[in-house]
Amino acid sequence: MLLSTLVYGVVNSVILALVALGFNLTFGISGIANFAYGALYILAGFGSWMLLNALGLPLLVSLPAMVLMTALVGGFIYRFILIRVRGMVISEVIATFGIGLAIVELFRYFGLVGFKYSLPVFVDGSFLIGGVFLDLQRAFIVVLGVVLTGTLWIFTLHTKTGLAFRGIAQNERTVLCFGIDSDRIAALSMGFGGGLCALAAVVILPLGTISVDAGYDVLLQALAVCIVGGLGSAVGVIIASFILGIAQTFSAMYLGTHWMMIVSLVAILAILVIRPSGLLGKQKELEERI
């Protein structure tokens, strides 16, 4: 049972990492609050469902199209709304949270509730590992998570755009002096974050059904991982994902399923009390040292 729990714990950890990557890119790396993140997740889910079922488009067209569309929505949120409250963090949080709430409740209002809203898996079947059968979709998620994390790390450290993302979080005025259009980069960051969020949605949602309430759960999980790992640190996000993922799975196994969500909330509180910058976060490191 221990080995089976560990296997599913690792899978759960990678799912958390995948969910948090986009949020970390915008909030952590670029310093732009996007609390509509959960709403974008289910927007990608429902949008993909509509493209597949209502329009009858093939899977290989629907999913990439929806990832692109969600990225555009993310960009538009910055371009038309966040740009007006740029720099005022509380206002950014309130604005994006309000947008997210509106999107989520709009889906509920239009009756998109029920078990028929689901996405098909990419690969069917299961294989035996650690004494437990693991479905191939979960194995695919693990592989994708590893690839995406590596790609994002390279992107943020070794590409011009990735460095610009980090620059606007560190000091926007200095970035402007280098001729970088901070608003353009911020919109790109929101777009990239939305796209990553949508990618996570289209690979994870086939494991279950598309639920409106998942919009809130996803935001909470992404927030927990980023705060525990440390805003701005991709490695911190990975470490935090594994800590939380395995803790959640072991809690569910040996204590009870209700403890899964409590683990995330307790982790947020604990890290804010003990080390507010997170495990590997750099943004508040100086203040903490002083």
Binding site: Y8, F115, G208, T209, S211, T249, M253, G256, H258
Partner: protein
């Protein structure tokens, strides 16, 4: 001037009489429709399908000319209102307002379907008793309503239940467990349930009854509403050597449990209540990965049972009228039968007087979509295992090819239970 005034007065009188006479002519003429009120949670699939079932029955009866009330044929008319009692956070008084509104505004002669929640039903009994409107409920399942009727039969005699109640539901669940024990020698059960009041109560009740019946209760695991990963429970079920997994869920994500059960090849048969798995849409929604699961259907009719032709008629008529199969396993078929029971009671009573109607309803003996319909002293339809004697629920097993096969009770079973390919009988 005086002449003109007199002429105007005369013209005014003629015009007034011209308006009044048709009103007087039609008032209480006996051609008024018999109004059926359907106050229920219309925002939920079960509520909507119940309303559609009532409408279907009303259209069938009206097509034949209507109902004989005394010596006049009158047609049915349906009025509905969404009381939202099934939605989370909606207080019971709000639901009661809806029931009172439909009684007072629409002047209904009877109420069908009724509230979802048991506490709303119990509270509504006083309103129904106050206005003396016969109510035939089909959704809320608490036996407490029957006890309330028995404590004051004269006051609460207007309330009837055509759908199944908790007692009979437990009876069917225990019946299938005894059947699994008899056929396969299974006696180790792992209970997984949704963490809501009705499912917690069900899990507690089943644990006690199964223990008495010699079963080993390996674990009882609760999942919060909205949970979509059941891997920990399934790992535990495998590790503890469970032979039967008894799920008790009504949330949309619950079908994932069966998908995961199949992909993890847990060597225990899945047998219980997963509400999303009842209807034919479940096969496509869960990508066909639900074959092998046993699921309770609370009232036949939602699934056509060849040995009960009325259930087949209802199932096909619903599909033809609405262009889709009935999906919910609790509520719609009894709602359909309620209209016919009401019509027949009106004809026997010869009037719409509530007391006469209640007396006639108590003597109901009708062959409907759910089987033979008769009421006990608590005004609950009697359920059992013989369609010639009682109404029926049943257990279906999903089979490859999107088939739902009735496997219990044995008297209406279409086939025996098949174990999943990755597990063996204990005998």
């Amino acid at each position: 001037m005086k002449r003109i005034n007199s002429m105007c007065l005369a013209i005014a009188c003629i015009v007034c009489i011209g308006f009044l006479v048709p009103q007087l002519a039609t008032a209480g003429s006996g051609n008024d429709p018999i109004i059926i009120g359907v106050p229920t949670s219309l925002g939920f699939t079960s509520g909507r399908e119940c309303l559609k079932s009532v409408t279907l029955a009303v259209e069938e009866i009206n097509a034949k000319g209507g109902v004989m009330v005394g010596d006049t044929k009158r047609k049915f008319q349906v009025e509905s209102i969404d009381i939202r009692d099934a939605a989370p956070g909606v207080p019971v008084p709000e639901a009661l307002l809806g029931i009172e509104k439909i009684i007072l505004d629409k002047k209904v002669h009877a109420i069908l379907v009724g509230p979802f929640r048991s506490e709303a039903l119990l509270a509504s009994m006083d309103i129904v008793a106050k206005y003396k409107v016969p109510m035939l409920g089909t959704i809320a399942m608490t036996p407490a309503s029957e006890e309330k009727i028995k404590t004051d039969p004269e006051k609460y005699k207007y309330i009837f239940r055509v759908g199944i109640n908790v007692k009979y539901f437990v009876g069917y669940m225990m019946g299938i467990m005894n059947y699994l024990n008899k056929e396969f020698g299974f006696n180790r059960v792992f209970i997984m349930h949704q963490d809501v009041l009705w499912a917690r109560g069900g899990a507690k009740g089943f644990s006690a009854l199964l223990k008495k019946g010699g079963w080993s209760i390996l674990e009882v695991e609760a999942y919060p509403t909205g949970a979509s990963d059941f891997s920990t429970g399934l790992i535990k079920a495998r590790a503890t050597g469970a032979q039967v997994i008894l799920p008790i869920f009504d949330m949309p994500q619950a079908g994932i449990l069966v998908k995961q059960w199949r992909s993890m090849k847990v060597p225990a048969i899945m047998s219980g209540i997963i509400v999303p798995l009842a209807g034919s849409d479940a096969w496509k929604a869960f990508e066909g990965k639900i074959a092998g699961a046993l699921n309770m259907v609370f009232e036949i009719g939602s699934i056509p049972v060849p040995k009960v032709p009325e259930s087949v008629h209802y199932f096909n008529a619903y599909k033809q009228r609405w262009g889709e199969e009935v999906q919910e396993q609790h509520g719609p078929a009894p709602a359909y039968d309620s209209v016919y029971i009401l019509a027949e009671a009106i004809e026997r009573a010869g009037s719409l007087d509530p007391d006469a109607l209640v007396a006639a309803l108590e003597k109901t003996d009708w062959m409907g979509a759910i089987g033979r319909i008769r009421f006990d002293e608590g005004h609950q339809v009697i359920f059992g295992n013989d369609p010639s004697q009682t109404a029926l629920g049943c257990m279906i097993q999903w089979r490859e090819g999107a088939k739902r096969v009735v496997v219990y009770p044995e008297v209406i079973a279409e086939d025996k239970i098949l174990l999943p390919t990755w597990m063996k009988s204990a005998k």
